[in-house]
Amino acid sequence: MTMNGRRAVSVLSGFLGSGKTTLLRGHLQNHPGDDLVAIINEWGAVGLDHHLVRSVNEQSVLLQGGCVCCARREDLVRTLRELLDLEQGGGMPAMRQVVIETSGLADPAPVLFTIATDPVLKHHFAVASVVVTLDAVNAGDQIESQPEVCKQLVAADRVVITKPDLASGERVAELQAWVRQLNPTARIFVSCLGAAAEALDLPGEAEYARAAPATLEPKLAPHPDVQSATLGFSGPLDWPAFSVWLGMLLEAHGPKALRIKGLLDIGAGGPVALNTAQHTVHPPEHLPAWPQGSSEAYLVFITRGIDPARIANSLEAFQRAGGRNGFRVKRIDPSFGEMA
């Protein structure tokens, strides 16, 4: 148990053939202990993925019947509850990490929603990270033609660019810059044949620090509908006013607020680590101290069809109405100056 007494869940997603199972197999080999459980989703008639993974870990559980996220969320609930019963009955060792591999066509957001809202699971499991694999060879076509790829990348905490040996170095660098533009919060790994399986390791506090900005302009066109912006603040936030504002924003614009993630200074000893995926708010973590090497508060917004300037203005108005007179929100993306 690592997440405030709850069992850590890592969600592994990525388009068909992008190397999810190779990465999972590497992770299971790196952690041969019996405290790691892999839940595999099988899309289609042949459970090839399941057999590959089961060859290295006997605790894999196969979810039958299609997409784990959209069509069979109740299966995920049932499977996790069964694992919990088994563990609490002494039938298996305490779970340290559960890796849920989704189907290639799945949007990870419903998995996060299921775990965060199920009346039993939310007390026993917490999502530690969403890891998404992206195939360097086929990513360009997939990004343009498969909306699932963008949904997966927006939901990601870590993006693993796979098959770099089959693409040029320039291509891999461009892809990194494009991912950084779409999702400024994600950590990016480059992995050949599952070599960067540490991407599935549980995150430490350093993960909360703001990711390094892109160092080159991507040649791939920006996504036409999705905007991202990183906001900074003139001083500590008023937490009650922020929570009123965020709750109202997610109720009105949840489906368009694809991702909100950041570290907030609320005037306490440590920051608040915040992470939302659409309308799902992961319980914010009030950290006892600032993570090493990070003292900057920030908030990244990834939105569809909402101008980030409107979000900044609204947050500023609510903070001032909550008693933070003179509070200012500024945009701190590398390519933007301060907002007026």
């Binding site: 937490w239 009650p240 929570s243 109202m248 009105a252 608040v272 203005n313 108005a317 109405a321």
Partner: protein, 113 residues
Amino acid sequence: MCVLCAQMFNEIHWSERQLNPEWITQGGGEATRRRNRRARIRLVSAVLAHYGLEIRDDWSATNYLLGDRKGSQQVLASLGELWPAAGRMVGRALDPLDEGLLNRLAEPTGGRQ
């Protein structure tokens, strides 16, 4: 369950996770909890006034009472229930990006009447 009034806590809203949930249900951190709650209600009242609604705390500071000017009222267990319920009362989602609302909040009275 609250050890003093036997009120059930079905849900600790994410905005109150600053305090240990176990601690809250045993009555710990009560001064901090009530202070934050009062601050939230003050701001929510200013927002709801823009839509002709009002909110009050109950005696135990565990439930909220949401009402409109026609006398309709609804008891809410947490802040998570507030915005959907308020949206149903006024017939549309309450939008924090609404310029009219933001201008009202910027008034010297902070939107309060």
